[in-house]
Amino acid sequence: MVVLFCVGVMLVALVWLYPQAFSDANREARANAALDQVDRELGGGNSVLPAQAIAVEARGRIPEDESFTVAVGEPRASWSLLSTPDSLEHYMRYFLLPRRAFPDAPWILCFACDRSAYPGATPVWEDAEEGLAILRRPS
């Protein structure tokens, strides 16, 4: 009796959950397919980065054998709460590999940073509205 009870309870739960799970999987598959390539590749970066463009530009502009650093200043009002210095650094380190992150790197990913801390560095790209820029120090 105990065995039949246990199996019966599990079957009832299965009848309830399986169709939902199957339908959820299909719905999520369609949602994933509907993303554009940049959204899909950035993934969690869409929640962390103030704008996708800095990741796209950084990946395109910084050669794979060069290094970068992440400099984060006062967050802008338009930024998400997840745009913290740690998150931004960790995300860009993940996203830009094999480019390495070093404090004295020639490329600076500036998130509303204090540019006076990088004398001689010139912007190669920027989004002034979000306070984002990619700076390059002379080698």
């Binding site: 390539q37 502009r61 050669p63």
Partner: protein, 123 residues
């Protein structure tokens, strides 16, 4: 039920949904993404906003080289931009009509550049 029919029934229970489901969802058309997803060649006579695209490269540095060449030919306002599929495209966005674009395309090709009229991406 005979053993043979029992085995057939078991095989059908397994095979029919496992084969049928992929066939049904294939109708969804969720293809694997490719870099060409961001290439939208303008149909002839298009009245949409158009760009004259001179090519795509995998890195900004390679796109910049092409950009220098394109500007050297005379397209001084050409730019290099991300294309939305992780490549960089070199383009001129001053096209105002399909006819103008087609002429520019012909000139660019005559100057040895690859050129194609594409629909301007939204946003």
């Amino acid at each position: 039920m005979s053993p043979h029919r029992l085995r057939l029934a078991a095989a059908a229970i397994v095979v029919v949904p496992l084969v049928g489901y992929p066939l049904v969802v294939a109708a969804d058309g969720a293809r694997s993404p490719t870099a060409d997803d961001c290439v939208h060649v303008a149909p002839e006579g298009s009245t949409e906003a158009l760009d004259l695209v001179f090519g795509r490269r995998d890195t900004w540095a390679e796109a910049d080289e092409l950009l220098e060449r394109v500007r050297g030919v005379g397209y001084v306002d050409a730019e290099a931009r991300p294309d939305g599929c992780w490549r960089w495209k070199v383009l001129y966005d001053g096209i105002e009509s399909y006819e103008q674009g087609a002429e520019s395309r012909a000139e660019a090709r005559g100057a040895g550049l690859e050129a194609e009229l594409e629909l301007e991406p939204p946003g």
